[in-house]
């Protein structure tokens, strides 16, 4: 007998025959087992990025997007996964925008879809093309809030929760994990959606500071990352800087991931590039415009763009050189401080990338 009674209508609509592909994401028992077997002693977990990815990201894993699309997302670690060529990955997140870099290289083959795109910069044509070509299979359709509740349920330590989101929509007809049930305490009809706790295999969370044990500090929007950190079977922390434990204890109040969640700690200055990092650096906005507009225009151009920036750089320092080096760092820092109100207002105008105008600069 199957272990899970998935939503039959959704299985049919999504044409999923072998449901074992769905199990890992909701397999609480194995997640708890993984958490029990983790290193619980306060030990130095620092290692280089390539070692952390090689050790903790395995073919077939369910990985997560992090931050908010291009805000405090562990992009540079994602690129290392691509360079190492992991296979047959599933991806979930709210948003799930960065799945497209993995889809481009055939690493992510299964999507738990919530939102893929870059807001006003346009729809994601890479995802569109991959779907039509059958290079990506959708396993479930979610709203942002639905994914957020699934991760939050895991962090809360409950099998799932009842939600008033997604009811009546096609999301519940295209998501095998969701079931519409009656609120058991209400005498009158009161439908609600059961959202199961979600347990991804591996998460990489980029933080502002971490000590060598894995206590990790986030400034700015945590989005879903505190919940994801608690849920994931394996957790890699990448951090802008490694600080003494006492710095976390005395100075870094607010959003902290506890050290015993972490499997690896990687010192990664500029690890969120090409995304922005609150308090540290603003976006190279033209990079994203070029990615969506030039890369979006054809599969060939998408490969040219990704090959140049992802495979064509060995690490974040080479990436920064391509963006404009120290000048880029200074501009990006100035912009982010002004945007956050920590400096005088500055002029945020910039030379936008369009298909007919490549300014050739990224600040």
């Amino acid at each position: 007998m199957a272990e899970y009674l998935y939503n039959e209508e959704a299985l049919e609509n999504l044409r999923i025959k072998d449901t074992s592909v769905l199990d890992r994401l909701v397999d609480f028992e194995s997640a708890r087992e993984a958490h029990l077997k983790k290193e619980h002693a306060k030990k130095d977990k620092r290692m280089p990025l390539d070692e952390a990815i090689a050790t903790f990201v395995k073919d077939g894993d369910v990985i997560t997007d992090g931050g908010f699309s291009y805000v405090r997302t562990a992009h540079q670690a994602f690129y290392e996964i691509i360079r190492q060529g992991k296979k047959n990955l599933q991806m979930i997140g709210a948003p799930n925008t960065n799945q497209s870099f993995f889809i481009t290289y055939g690493l992510v083959t299964h999507s738990h879809s919530s939102y893929t795109g870059a807001e006003m910069r346009g729809i994601d044509k890479v995802y569109d093309r991959a779907l039509k070509a059958g290079r990506i299979t959708i396993l479930s359709e979610w709203s942002h809030g639905g994914v957020a509740q699934g991760f939050k349920a895991a962090q809360l330590g409950v099998p799932g929760l009842l939600s008033k989101q997604m009811l009546g929509s096609d999301l519940v007809r295209y998501n095998p994990y969701l079931k519409v049930i009656q609120n058991p305490l209400k005498a009158v009809k009161d439908p609600a959606v059961f959202v199961p706790a979600l347990y991804p295999d591996v998460s990489i969370i980029h933080c502002h500071a971490a000590d060598k044990y894995g206590n990790a500090y986030i400034y700015g929007p945590a989005v879903n990352d505190l919940a994801v950190a608690a849920a994931a079977r394996k957790l890699i922390i990448t951090a802008e800087e490694i600080v003494p434990e006492n710095d976390i204890r005395y100075n870094k109040h607010g959003q902290i991931i506890p050290f015993f969640y972490a499997d690896a700690v990687v010192e990664m200055p500029f690890g969120a590039l090409p995304g922005s990092m609150p308090g540290c650096y603003y976006w190279p906005r033209q990079w994203w415009e070029k990615c969506m507009r030039f890369g979006g225009s054809s599969e060939e151009n998408n490969r040219i763009f990704c090959d140049e920036w992802i495979l064509g750089t060995k690490n974040q320092y080479e990436f920064i050189e391509k963006l404009g080096g120290a000048r880029w760092i200074a501009e990006a820092r100035r912009q982010t401080k002004a945007a956050e109100g920590d400096n005088e207002d500055i002029d945020f105008s910039y030379d936008e990338y369009t298909l007919t105008h490549d300014p050739g600069r990224y600040y």
Binding site: F68, V71, M120, G145, G168, P221
Partner: protein
Amino acid sequence: MRDLNAPANPLETLAYIIAQQIEDHSVVYIGTGIPMVAGILAKKTHAPNITLVYESGGQDPIEGDMPWSVGCPMTWRKSPTIMEMSYSFAQCYNGYVDIGFLGFAQVDMYGNVNTHMIGKDYHQPKVRLTGSGGNNDLSSLTEKMVLVGLQTPDKFPEKVDFITSVGWLEGGDSRKEAGLIGNGPAAVISPWGVYDFHPASKRMRVKSLTPGVTFEIAQQLTGFELLRPEGEIPDTKLITPECLKIIRAQVDPRGVFTTMPAA
């Protein structure tokens, strides 16, 4: 620098009409794009005391430049608190949010929204779009929803190709029957008209039209039969020169959100 005196374009018109829906002192949930312009315009004009909420978790920022994204520092600039995403949406469920604004790729006669895919075959769409993001969450939970987008018969079909977010579902009491809360979509705003929903049938109805647009023109731009209100159809109040100048000089000086894309 933008020409402050050129006639208003449809996006600026849209931003102004949306802003008019916002009452001072309210808590307003804002999606990306034109709703951002409208929220900030409202704050700089008739509703200086509103509080803006964004799904990345930012809320109640000190005004700054136009956010480049809903995750931009401008959405949480010196915020007293930044919410996790699940808590941010929960504020709609728990009744702290007065009004929300959503975009759409398609909206149907009952105000159901599609941001997933265009085409009849889910597995072979004509085009795959972004997916829900927070669209479904706000539609499911927010007390008053206003839907915002462009209007053509394809964008206003009788039935959307995929129900990302439930409006009035199949009309009548069907939204409530499905278990959803909130008052459902209050209005649909396009550059050509403002539409509401018939109180009983919940079918889309003309509320006011942009000057120069007749009921017949609005009907031609719609893929289903529009309901006609009783009596004269009022003109939508057009953007004032003063507000237009504020949009161009202060809210969106580089025209990122309010210049028409080149064809």
